[in-house]
């Protein structure tokens, strides 16, 4: 409260695209509206119609391959390499093969209403541009923010109708809704907002392909491996037959991927023929030559390596609506190509920087469209996470010149994706760490910082993988969930469980006060111990039932949408002859359970202990009644609730409750197995679920009012309750055993002045190191002052490229819904 700065201060670091080409690409992205592109799904559906009766792997391969081969290649001015997911700068594919119901509902405008009830979209940027265009005719709106031409609308409708009863969601629903004993619990859970909406439209991601091998062997090399396996196999039983089918499917898809790249070569030649500018003409011919060679053959230089990476990476993105699908340890596997060219004088650092900046724009261009109640939660982000730094297999620091250039590219070219993350190790160089801090100071919200030691300990316990493998391949599959690059299963249990609702069920005998829906019956508690016991029952049932439900959904995934391309490029699927859906990956323990709002449950239980058990200022019944009436006439009690111990103050009275609930949570999650027979691996993250979850929850004993958002992040305190400052927050957060979970995140917000200059950067680094010394796992920072954000709310047009950290990802502030914007502003701003 002393000397609190509340005047707008410009950020210390502000970069700009380093070349005219990148500026062109970025400005084009910033002004383009979003489109739904039906081209892929139209061809996919055509192929599906004619492949009835084919083996499931081969049919899936044929449909994807056919669609891929028929995509229209678009190469735009300024692009130094080729490839796009759709024909549009910002285009999304509606994957009717995963889920057609939401598409049909949206076409009938029902989905929009459902979305409006739970999420909010921003009005600025590309969303605003789309609204302008739709007003001019020829297009309608899809999902509140995507443009859909009238012609494409009919195509989409016919695809969606075709997939009725055939898509993954319908096949799954037909199974679990009829035979799963807890089916009504799940459906009630959706009605009561105990869970996020079904996420069949985008069930995958959270993995990293084996880019190292894909580049080193070329896809032709991978095809040759698969063919060799087919040649040496003979059918002795059903499994050996499935192995052949699977490997043939891989070959089909990989060959189609090569053909798709060569379509770009042809398109580049066509463009070159009509290009008047000699320099661009030469560049287009060079692009054509590269697209001819890669990804079929190993790249011969850095430019080919970038083109090869992009094709391989993008092809994975086209196979399904992946969330969390990530490039992994880019600065490790791309370094040899970089180093060879730099040493030979074939490329300059400036040229590399331009390619990296262009890559940022290209990765940001990828959009996805899903059922909107879900999509709104991610605020449109795909959670692509590029890891930097870390250590090599021997434990030596692994940052290099390329890591520095990647950070510089993010400083220069402000786009939301990919998000950057640092695997922190004390041995990383000062130059690298300071450059990373500099990037934080642009206010873009990344890099986020992860404690490699904590993940290594988790993975040693979890998978037992050799330490050298963990060190070398530790990556991030999504915003904050670590994975082993190129060898892990990516189908995640991505539902979020609402701890605020679990608390309400525990307080009210298992009945949701808002809807009156009865879940598991428990006695209405009279004290803290009884409340905790009830909490555990509801947590066990909410999570356990959901995990089991998801296994049914996975069974449908395996039948309808098994991943073929991704399987071909994850070890050891081809060698084992098994897809990811059949356990072909080396590590199958990545599926996680996610949760949101635990901090409110912790604070509430701590408040009950203080008010009911210790100070005896009220009975539990009185407190419960006050919550049900949203504190009406009980301002006195609310005041005492607010004064009760709160998480984030290094106060054991609240922190022990967190430790206790956290351990129970981990036990409950790990008590069940995933579809592949591995125990579920607990994870905690919130993305923006805390806002819709909070909307559905009444007042809670921590003093929170009905409908207010829950606490964001995992260990971040509830806004306004961390009165002992940031050190206490981090000390609280470090009390839980972070090695028990795969992922977790902690938001901090700084005023730009707080970390000004090299001195300020060093302080930031000391803070990170200190937290990690205490075995904290993750830290991320918003460097922005509240005045600027409020101004951006009022005048979005002036802040088109203002990027903020939302949860495990960054977003353009003006494209976020107002409640999420408000949350970000409300996060405690730690400043001098």
């Amino acid at each position: 409260m002393n000397g609190q700065i509340d005047v707008p201060v410009s950020r210390e670091i502000a970069g700009a695209p380093s070349t005219a080409n990148v500026r062109l690409m970025r400005d084009r992205y910033l002004s383009e509206p979003l489109y739904v592109d039906v081209e892929y799904i139209r061809h996919y559906t055509d192929a599906h119609r004619r492949t009835d009766g084919m083996n499931a792997f081969e049919r899936r391969a044929e449909c994807h391959a056919w669609a891929l081969e028929h995509l229209t290649p678009s190469i735009r001015d300024g692009e130094p390499f080729a490839g796009g997911k759709t024909r549009y700068v910002r285009g999304a594919i509606p994957y009717c093969n995963y889920a057609c119901g939401y598409v049909l509902r949206e076409l009938r405008h029902e989905e929009q209403e459902a979305q409006d009830s739970v999420t909010d979209l921003g009005t600025g940027g590309g969303i605003g541009a789309g609204r302008e265009i739709s007003g001019k005719g020829g297009y309608s709106f899809f999902g509140g923010k995507f443009l859909l031409s009238h012609e494409d609308r009919e195509t989409l409708k016919s695809c969606a109708e075709y997939f009725r009863g055939k898509c993954m969601q319908d096949v799954g629903d037909a199974l679990w809704k009829s035979v799963y004993p807890q089916a009504s619990y799940i459906e009630n859970g959706w009605k009561a907002v105990l869970y996020t909406a079904p996420h069949d439209p985008a069930p995958e991601g959270r993995f990293v392909l084996d880019f190292e091998t894909a580049l080193a062997e070329g896809l032709n090399g991978v095809i040759a491996r698969a063919r060799a396996k087919i040649a040496e196999a003979s059918v002795t039983d059903w499994e050996s037959a499935e192995r052949i089918y699977f490997r043939r499917a891989c070959v089909r898809v990989l060959e189609a991927t090569i053909a798709w790249a060569r379509n770009y070569a042809a398109a580049a030649r066509d463009l070159a023929a009509g290009e008047g500018d000699e320099a661009r003409k030469a560049e287009l011919l060079a692009i054509a030559e590269r697209c001819e060679r890669v990804p079929a053959e190993p790249p011969r230089d850095f430019r080919e390596a970038i083109q090869a990476f992009w094709f391989v990476y993008l092809a994975g993105h086209i196979e399904g609506s992946h969330l969390g699908y990530s490039p992994g340890r880019f600065d490790r596997y791309m370094y040899p190509y970089y180093k060879r060219d730099i040493d030979a004088g074939r490329i300059s650092n400036d040229e590399v920087l331009e390619l990296l900046e262009a890559l940022r724009v290209k990765m940001t261009e990828i959009e996805y469209v899903a059922s909107f109640s879900w999509e709104g939660l991610g605020s449109g982000n795909l959670f692509q996470n590029m890891m930097l730094g870390g250590v090599d297999e021997h434990g030596r620091p692994a940052d290099n010149e390329l890591s520095m250039l990647i950070l510089q590219s993010a400083i220069n070219c402000r786009t939301t994706q990919p998000t950057l993350s640092i695997w922190y190790d004390d041995g990383l160089s000062d130059e690298f760490l300071l450059k990373a801090a500099e990037c934080v100071k642009t206010g873009c919200g990344f890099p986020a910082w992860f404690n490699l030691r904590v993940f290594a300990q988790h993975e040693l316990q979890k998978s037992g993988a050799p330490l050298s493998v963990i060190r070398k391949y530790a990556a991030m599959g999504g915003c904050t969930e670590p994975t082993l690059e190129g060898m892990s299963h990516g189908i995640v249990q991505a539902g979020f469980v609402n701890h605020g609702k679990i608390l309400e069920l525990a307080m009210n005998g298992g009945v949701d006060p808002r809807t009156g829906i009865a879940f598991t019956a428990t006695a209405v508690p009279t004290n803290t111990d009884e409340l905790l016991a009830a909490y555990e029952v509801h947590m066990r049932d909410a999570i356990g039932n959901w995990q089991r439900y998801w296994n049914y959904a996975m069974a449908a995934h395996r039948q309808t949408c098994p991943l073929i391309f991704s399987s071909a490029l994850v070890r050891d699927c081809i060698a084992r002859g098994k897809s990811l859906d059949d356990g072909g990956a080396v590590c199958n323990g990545t599926p996680t359970t996610l949760s949101s709002g635990l901090v409110n449950a912790v604070n509430s239980i701590a408040a009950v202990r203080k008010l009911v058990d210790e100070d005896r200022v009220c009975t539990f019944g009185e407190l419960r009644a006050a919550c049900l009436s949203d504190w009406e006439g009980r301002g006195d009690l609310r005041r005492r609730a607010l004064d009760a111990p709160k998480w984030g103050n290094n106060d054991d009275a609240a922190d022990r409750v967190y430790e206790d609930l956290f351990d129970r949570y981990c036990d409950v999650v790990a008590a069940q197995k995933n579809y592949l027979g591995e125990p579920y691996d607990p994870s905690m993250l919130a993305i923006t679920t805390h806002t819709p979850f909070g909307k559905a929850c009444g007042a809670t004993p921590d003093g929170r009012s009905a409908g207010d958002a829950l606490a964001d992040g995992v260990t971040s305190p509830y806004p306004g309750t961390d009165v002992n400052g940031p050190f206490a927050v981090l000390l609280s957060s470090s009390k839980i055993d972070h090695t028990r979970i795969r992922g977790g995140l902690h938001n901090m917000k700084f005023h730009p002045k707080t970390i000004w200059g090299v001195e300020g950067s060093k302080k930031l680094l000391s803070l990170i190191k200190s937290y990690f010394d205490r075995n904290g796992f993750q830290l991320q920072f918003n460097v922005v002052d509240g005045r600027m954000l409020r101004d951006a709310q009022a005048r979005p047009e002036l802040y088109r490229d203002l990027i903020v950290r939302v949860a495990g990802f960054s977003a353009f502030f003006v494209e976020l819904g107002k409640p999420v914007q408000d949350q970000i502003i409300a996060r405690t701003e730690h400043s001098l």
């Binding site: 002393n2 000397g3 301002g635 006195d636 940031p726 707080t754 000391s766 190191k769």
Partner: protein
């Protein structure tokens, strides 16, 4: 003589940035012999506990008035509470504060033993250790509570924890001198070199302050940073900064920091029921402050603007 080492503290802030090297915790001690008109921490001036009402969050429910045993709270012209501070009987349990539903009304100031304060800050040891940081005692005037400070410093010195002090310079040399060796650095205020002006704007003359500065510089000039709040009409002149540069040169002080005047503390005056007397003309243009800094730098003084 054994003194009861208990001190009044009105705030503790972590991650202070401009109050010394590394990650630091600033402890604000309550009570100050000066009454600088521009003071941004008016709640640090009085030694005793005070009521403060944050007007912006007060919902004017008047719950405070309904529980006051002395009838010291009345309804003001805006419908919010007005506190007759002389009528307040200073209840130990402050029912008015306890009843405030929005926590707008609070008491400022708490008594700490040196042990308790040390226990509070030692929890942050990992942050200090990794950053070369520590604790900075500020205020109010920390050296107005020498016994408390001395005891706290001796706890910290035992584990090598760096403690710096921000002082207005108006303290009793005899009681402070014995523990100067335990203070890692000083931010020492020099506000005005003209005794009459100084007396007019701070309530005290500057003779003792300058005397203390001289004595301190003789012991440890290298640990002193001269700290100047730049205030229009008080010291915002090339004359003053020229004289300051000469003073520093004579005393062997090589570091200075300039603190631009700001009005962020104004609402606190309102919350304390006091009037804010500074004229608007006190603000100084950043360019001018930059010129003052350059003037000091030209004399070989390392100068920063916070």
């Amino acid at each position: 003589m054994i003194e009861r080492a208990e001190g009044a503290v009105f705030d503790i802030q972590d991650l202070a940035v401009t109050d010394g090297a590394g990650l630091r915790t600033v402890v604000f001690l309550k009570g100050c012999p000066l009454r600088c008109r521009w003071c941004a921490n008016p709640e640090g001036q009085e030694r005793g506990r005070e009521l403060m009402n944050v007007r912006s969050t007060c919902e004017r429910c008047m719950a405070c008035a309904s529980v006051c045993p002395s009838g010291a709270v009345s309804v003001g012209s805006d419908g919010g509470p007005v506190f007759a501070r002389e009528a307040c009987s200073r209840c130990a349990d402050t029912p008015c504060v306890a009843r405030c539903p929005t926590r707008s009304l609070r008491t400022v100031g708490r008594e700490w033993t040196a042990d308790a304060l040390y226990a509070r800050v030692r929890q942050n040891a990992i942050f200090y250790r990794n950053s070369g940081g520590g604790v900075t005692l500020s205020g109010g005037e920390p050296l107005a509570q020498p016994a408390f400070v001395r005891e706290f410093l001796s706890r910290c010195a035992a584990v090598g924890l760096s403690v710096g002090v921000e002082t207005c310079g108006f303290f009793d040399w005899e009681s402070v001198e014995p523990f100067i060796r335990n203070i890692a650095f000083f931010f020492f205020d020099v506000k005005c070199l003209d005794d009459a002006v100084h007396r007019r704007v701070t309530g005290q003359g500057n003779e003792r302050i300058l005397g203390n500065l001289e004595r301190l510089a003789a012991l440890c000039a290298d640990r002193i940073t001269v700290s100047v709040p730049v205030i229009g009409g008080v010291n915002a002149s090339a004359n003053f900064f020229g004289a300051l540069a000469r003073l520093c040169a004579r005393l062997g002080i090589a570091k200075a920091r300039l603190l631009p005047y700001h009005t962020l503390g104004v609402s606190k005056y309102e919350g304390l029921g006091r009037a804010y007397l500074m004229p608007d003309s006190a603000a100084v243009e950043p360019e001018e402050i930059g010129r003052f800094a350059e003037l000091l730098r030209a004399s070989g003084i390392e100068c920063r603007i916070d």
